[in-house]
Amino acid sequence: MNSGRRLRTRTRVLANSLGLVVFLICGFPVYWMISTSFQSRNEIRSPEPTWHPFGGGLDNYRRLFEDGEFLDALKISLLVTIATVAIALLFAFLAAVAVSRFRFRGRTSFILLMLVVQMIPAEGLFISQYKMLDGLSLTNSVLGLTTLYVACVLPFTIWTLRGFVSALPVDLEEAAMVDGCTRVGAFFRITFPLLAPGLVATGVFGFIQAWNEFTLALVVMTRDDKKTLPVWLSTFSDANRGTDWGAVMAGSTLISIPVILFFLMVQGRMVSGLTVGAVKG
């Protein structure tokens, strides 16, 4: 018994120390990003790394906001992301209602189609998507990129919303209808408010995906003033130019903050959602 307990303490100490190593490996790059973003150019370019932040104050961030390209990219990213989330939520909501509130021929096929479509890698299709948008003069346009993004996030959004809609009891709606509400009225007064958390969670998925997406943005948005934030960020690490690491890290930090916050909000659902049938950005 005694030796068993000692073994258990030893295991725990070992597990704890390995855990701290895991934490360091996960956290250090993130710390280094934030730390560098607050360092002055001299600290960044000194042979000895500076381990603590704040030497350069907000200089890097100031330079970033004086850079027109960053502001352009921020604008494009916000436009595309918000449009994608709004359209995808609307379309997905309608489809989720159809799938979970009605029985009709083709219903199962539709659900399976969503599952299969999720598996199509964007990397295997962007050539013809580019050709199509090019033919319609929709490259370098928010509309063009948004169309592709909507299709990217739709299957997952429908899949998740469907779960939320069918979790709501139909009885509530019926009770309201008995009390004199119209079907539409019952839906918007009873079901819709109850569905709000589901819509928020699903919308956040869409936001994260559209905000982070790189491949399609790289292919579709080729002009300098039409780049999204990830594409703008990628042009920095070009071997042929001296990289302004302070500004790059400031940009990375700014791009990450909304995503990390949103992510923490919906993390629990993310785990279950991803195992059900999944898309990763």
């Binding site: 701290l20 993130v30 489809a95 598996m119 295997g124 998507q129 790059v248």
Partner: protein, 318 residues
Amino acid sequence: MALTTRPAKSTRNRTLADRAPAVRKAMLPYGLLLPALIALAFALGYPLIRQVMLSFQEFGLAQQFGRPPEWVGLQNYRDLVSDSYLWVLVLRSVVFCLVNAGLTMVLGVAIALLMRLMSTPVRLVVQAGLLIAWAMPVLASLTVWTWLFDTQYGVVNWILERLGGDFAGHSWLIEPMSFFLIATLLVVWMSIPFVAFTVYAALTQVPQEILEAAEVDGAGPWQRTRLVVLPSIRPVLLVVGLLELVWGLRVFTQIYVLQQAGGVTRETNLLGTYVYRSGIGEGEFGVAATVAMFMLALTVLLTAPYVIKMIRDDREMA
């Protein structure tokens, strides 16, 4: 997910039928699906058909400038299959995918198992770290990692130099092997949190009684893990492993950005970056579409078991 038929359905349908003409009622669900279907057909369906057509056409630079594409049947496929570079690409992509998926699974499951042995505060700290690494946008992680491994000012070179290696001014991206080492580090770092969290969630579902019974029967910790814990989370391991394989096969962003940061393109291309460079870069759309079809076919081959399993589960629950 279950396709349960609710008993309440029939009564509700009756009330509905009283209110709306039957035909309109029957069409309503299709109307609700229409916007989603149109969006998918436009942005995925049409390009897919077009890509199949492109792969049967001669579509290079001349066609970019207005010459009508020529139908060449299987010529693109024949050219590719006889081009040894394609096989290098396929082999490289498959090996890269297997190594990354394997490492991610082994490390992710190990972390999940370890998390059960940690004391609660440490576990929360580890989960916070994993969550932040998971939440980082791909591009932000990529730029940080290229900064960490920067030739001149990178902190990794500095540390290795302190540890006695000759790493001052060492360039990690020039040699294909060390290029892929960095790419693997990156991909694994980004993918572990998902595996660790999902597997940990599954581990908490393993009934305590079974573990205690095994302990009473004299099974040591290692035996309990191998013979009781891992088999009971097998379904989750299978799904997660398959997803990692699929994601590993479509890796594009990491390779592309690292190439821009100083890799030798030809020696470091995977299928995805080759499609981009030959299609968007050189205007050889016919060739690019054909390689993309290879990628899609590989993905279908890999995902078919998963999809079939999902369909079967769905049926069983119904």
